[in-house]
Symmetry: C2
Subunit: 238 residues, 2 copies
Amino acid sequence: MIDPSRHVNIGSLIFDGIDQIDLTGPFEVLARIPNSTYRLYGKTDGMIRDLKGLRISPDAAIAEAPQLDVLHIPGGFGQEALMDDEEVLGWIRRQAEGAQSIFSVCTGALVLGAAGLLKGRRATTHWASFHLLPYFGAIPVDERVVVDGNWVFAAGVTAGIDGALRLAAELRGDAAAQGIQLHMVYAPEPPFDAGTPASAPPEVFAAMRESVRAVTTQREATARRVAERLGITAAVSP
Amino acid sequence: MIDPSRHVNIGSLIFDGIDQIDLTGPFEVLARIPNSTYRLYGKTDGMIRDLKGLRISPDAAIAEAPQLDVLHIPGGFGQEALMDDEEVLGWIRRQAEGAQSIFSVCTGALVLGAAGLLKGRRATTHWASFHLLPYFGAIPVDERVVVDGNWVFAAGVTAGIDGALRLAAELRGDAAAQGIQLHMVYAPEPPFDAGTPASAPPEVFAAMRESVRAVTTQREATARRVAERLGITAAVSP
């Protein structure tokens, strides 16, 4: 917990092809952290589009961001384009040097990997990309939310809500996080037990894995290229 | 379940002062319903701002919307302004006549009430507004998701995710909804048991109730005014 009297700057990176709930789930929490400023940063100040067309405006471009205390990196297939974008990766590296916390959701973790920031870290990501974490030197931990020091990794998509509440508690204490959880009426009742590969009906899982196969293949190729660039060879079984 | 070969038009109403996750939680589901078109409609085609400043663009103005098969009405304090807005209320009434399903989240239910559409319906809304449902002639049901015929009511905020998955199952069958749930990795692990008035620590609940007192008072005044307009006097204890 940070000194509650110290104001914190929180920022989310947004980009085309984000999976919007990787952003908007945590937004509901991060925008309500006591004594904080929360802003969305794009590579430019132009509107972005999520995977399914939701159009969201950033508050500013990354070049205008102050040093952030908390940097949130959502995922979604648009993360691929960021993984070779030295302007964005350099910005993330510089922010990470001065930040208190880094918080990734879903395949946002792969972007941190491409920035070279996962070496030796316990981390998680979406189930379809989980096997890629060693390419970035990370130690894969198969949990919904992984806390590694001041870094928080949420696995797939809606795990960002759980991760953001964990982060809120780390930053401002349990009561603050519980107040936000009550505001959100976050007492979930999923209508099915189908949210993970292990719990989903096998035919539902098979269809979903098939539908992301092309995307996963591309992510694997990118991960291999990044591993080479970072000089990571251990623990990678191609 | 609707004939899967029949294409469905799904729309969400968006407005200034929305609570963004009332929209974006369901968005993650509604944008993935098989054989459907999903669009966001604003009163105009201009960008809207959520309670905490998230800026989202509608796809079109309500005047341009086709007859929708599913109409989704999110909540948030901006709902107050809609409750006397005959242009929007009239649009909702006309849509409701031809729609297959109406789906409200949080205080979106109050907007349906103001449109005169809750008379005799089993419904729910956010805990802080739950006691207002009788003003609109609704039968309050204290459950997270209430299904009344083809209408679906989700209680507070994140209940919209559960409600949207229920709706997806009603529209396209369980396997379709389970596939979406797996995509979303919706196997929640809230870090605290604090998402309802009954489960939150008493001091957290007291603080939250206090923080929404002014808003609740205003909503009560509006509900009384609407009840008068609708000629509803039964079951209201002021």
